[in-house]
Amino acid sequence: MSKRDLGKKHNKFFGKYEDKKDGVIRGFDVHSTKVKILCIIIMILCLSFVVVSVFPILWVFLASFKDIKEFTREVSIIPKSFDLSKLQESWNALKFQRYYINSFISVGGSVICAVIFNGLLAYGFAVLRPKGYKIAYGLVMWSLLIPATTSIVAVFRNINLVGLNGTFVPLWLAFGANAFYVVIFKEFFQEIPKEILEAAKLDGAGVLKVFSTIMIPLSKPIIMVVVIFAITAAWSDFLLPYLVLNGSGKETVMVKLFSFKDTPTDAVSVLRATLFAIIPPTVLFALFQKQITDGATAGAVKG
C-alpha cells in the first residue's frame, strides 16, 4: 500500500510545485528526492526567517507585562501574569496620552504636506513642464543623494531664524520637501494619458482645477503609497522633532523615547513606552498589509 499512498501524500505538498511556472525550481524538478528535500529545507528556512522577524516584537508585548522585579531577576520569556492594569499604570505615569495626541498632530500635518507639496511639484515636472523646469528637477534629483541629516545643524538654525522653534509647523513643512516622494508622484503622473488632461483644458479648467479634479482622483493608489510612507516616517521621526519640540510641551512619542537615553528610567517603563510606540504602526500594518508591502516595491521603481 505504502508506495502509492506515500505518493499521494507528497502530492498534497509537492503538487502545488507542479504548477510552479517561475523561479529556479520548476515543476519538472520536483520529481527527484533531492529537490524535494531542498524544497522542504527552503520552507523551514523561510519559516525561521519569519520567527526571527516577529519574535522580538512579540517579546515586547510579553515582557511589558512583567514588573521591574520580575524583569530584572527572572530568567524567563513568558511573564507570570497578564495584567493589563500594569500597562495602564505606566501609560498614566508616563503621560502617554499627551504624547500620542502630539504625535497624531505631527503625523497628520506631515502627511497633508507630503501629499500636497510634493504632488504639486511633481505635477509641474510631469505635466505642466514650464520652461526651465529641468533646472529645478535636476536640483531636486540631486538632493536625493544628499542625506538630510548631515545638514541638520543648518536646518535647525533656519527654523530658529524664522521663529518656528517649539511648534509643529517646521515638522509638517519638512515633509513637503521630500525628493523621494516627488519622484514617486512624477513617475505616476507621467503615465496618465495626455488626452484626458488636454480634454479638461479645452473645457476651460484651470491648472489647479485639473490637479484637484483629475490628477488627484486618478492618483489614488500612488497617494495611498505616499500617505503610508509619510505616516510611518513621520511617526518614527525623532531627530528634528527632538530638537524642535523637546521642552516645549509638544513632545511626540518618539521624542519621549529618544529622551530616555539621557534620563535614567527603569527598564520596564522604557519597555512599555516602546510597546506604546509600536502599537499604532502595528495596527496600521495589520489593516493595510497588502498596500504596505506592495508600496515597498513601488518605492523602488525608480531604482
Binding site: K16, K21, D22, G23, V24, R26, F28, D29, V35, C39, M43, C46, L47, V50, S53, V54, P56, I57, V60, A63, F71, E74, I77, F117, L120, L121, L128, P130, G132, L139, S143, I146, P147, A148, T150, S151, I152, V153, A154, V155, R157, N158, L173, G176, V207, L208, F238, L243, M254, L257, K261, T274, I278, T282, F285, I292, T293, A296, T297, G303
Partner: protein
C-alpha cells in the same frame, strides 16, 4: 520655432504651482547645505557667525582623537553592513521566491520589522543584548547550555551586532524589492538553461544572480549612503562605547552640535561627511557606467 523661445502664460502658471514646494526645498535642503559650508569656515557664538577662520574648524575636528576612532568605526560599520546587511535580503528574496506555500505569509512576516520605528527597534534589541543572565538572548542560550555572552559590551562584537539590529529592521523591505525583480525574470531563461543541463545551483548562479545584479548595485550604494550616516543606533544602544568602540562620524557631529554647541565644528564635520558620500556616489556611477559599456 517661435513658441520655443517665447515665454508663455502657462509657463508662469507652471512655475507658480511649483514655487511653494521649491521654497520648502530651499529652506530645508539647499540653503542648509550652503549654510553648512559657510558656517564651517567661520567662528561663531551659538548660531551667530563671527569671523572667517579658513579651515581652522576642519583642522580642529581632524585633530580630535575621537575623530580617528569615529572615522575607522564608520568604515567598519559600512563593511559589516556589506557583509551582513547586503547579503541577507538577497538570500531572503531568492529563497522566498522559491516557495509556493505561504508565500504571502512569508512576505508579510519578514516585512513586519520594517514598520517598527527605528528608535523602538534599538530599544528592543538593547534588551536582547543585555549581557547578564536576564538578557533575552542569554536566556535563550542558557536553554541550550551556552554561557551568557557579553554582546554589545564586547568591543569586537559591538559594531557587527548594531549592524545585525539594522539588518533585522531593513532586510525584509529590501528582500521584497529583490523578489519583485526575481519574479520578473523570464521563465524561458530557466527552461533554456535546464535544457542545457544546468542544475538548480547553476541556474541561480548564472541566471538569478546576474538578473538582480543591477538592482543589487543600486541597493548597495543606497545602503552605503545610509549606513555611513549611522547615528542614533550607537547613541541609544551603547552611547558610542565600550570605550569609543562604536562611536560614528554622525554621532560625533551630533555631539559637537548639541552637546558642546560648537556649531562650526559640527558643520565642518558634516561637510566632510557629505564630501565622502558624494565621492562614493560618484565612484558608484562611474563603476556602473564602465561595466555597462
Amino acid at each position: 520655432m517661435k513658441d520655443k523661445i517665447k515665454w508663455k502664460k502657462r509657463d508662469t502658471i507652471g512655475w507658480l504651482v511649483m514655487v511653494p514646494t521649491l521654497i520648502l526645498f530651499a529652506f530645508f535642503v539647499w540653503e542648509p547645505l550652503i549654510e553648512n559650508i559657510r558656517l564651517s569656515l567661520h567662528s561663531a557664538v551659538g548660531y551667530e557667525i563671527k569671523e572667517f577662520v579658513g579651515f581652522e574648524n576642519y583642522i580642529k575636528v581632524l585633530n580630535n582623537p575621537t575623530f580617528i576612532k569615529a572615522f575607522k568605526n564608520t568604515f567598519s560599520y559600512t563593511l559589516w553592513s556589506l557583509a551582513i546587511g547586503f547579503i541577507v535580503p538577497i538570500i531572503l528574496g531568492i529563497l522566498i521566491s522559491e516557495t509556493v506555500h505561504l508565500k504571502g505569509f512569508f512576505r508579510t512576516g519578514i516585512y513586519f520589522p520594517n514598520i517598527v520605528p527605528g528608535l523602538a527597534t534599538v530599544w528592543i534589541w538593547s534588551y536582547f543584548f543585555i549581557p547578564g543572565k536576564t538578557g533575552v538572548l542569554n536566556i535563550m542560550l542558557s536553554k541550550i547550555g551556552i554561557d551568557a555572552q557579553a554582546w554589545l559590551t564586547n568591543p569586537k562584537w559591538t559594531i557587527p551586532l548594531i549592524i545585525l539590529t539594522m539588518t533585522w529592521k531593513g532586510a525584509g523591505a529590501t528582500a521584497l524589492i529583490y523578489m519583485a525583480n526575481i519574479s520578473g525574470i523570464s521563465p524561458d531563461l530557466y527552461e533554456a538553461a535546464t535544457v542545457d543541463g544546468a542544475g538548480i545551483w547553476k541556474r541561480i548562479r548564472h541566471i538569478t544572480i546576474p538578473s538582480i545584479a543591477g538592482i543589487g548595485k543600486t541597493m548597495m550604494i543606497l545602503q552605503i549612503i545610509s549606513v555611513f550616516q549611522i547615528m542614533y543606533e550607537p547613541m541609544v544602544m551603547t552611547n558610542g562605547g565600550p570605550n569609543g568602540a562604536s562611536v560614528s562620524l554622525m554621532m560625533l557631529m551630533y555631539q559637537y552640535a548639541f552637546r558642546d554647541f560648537n556649531f562650526p565644528a559640527a558643520a565642518a564635520l558634516s561637510v566632510m561627511i557629505c564630501i565622502i558620500l558624494v565621492i562614493l556616489s560618484g565612484l558608484y556611477m562611474k563603476l556602473t557606467k564602465s561595466s555597462e559599456e
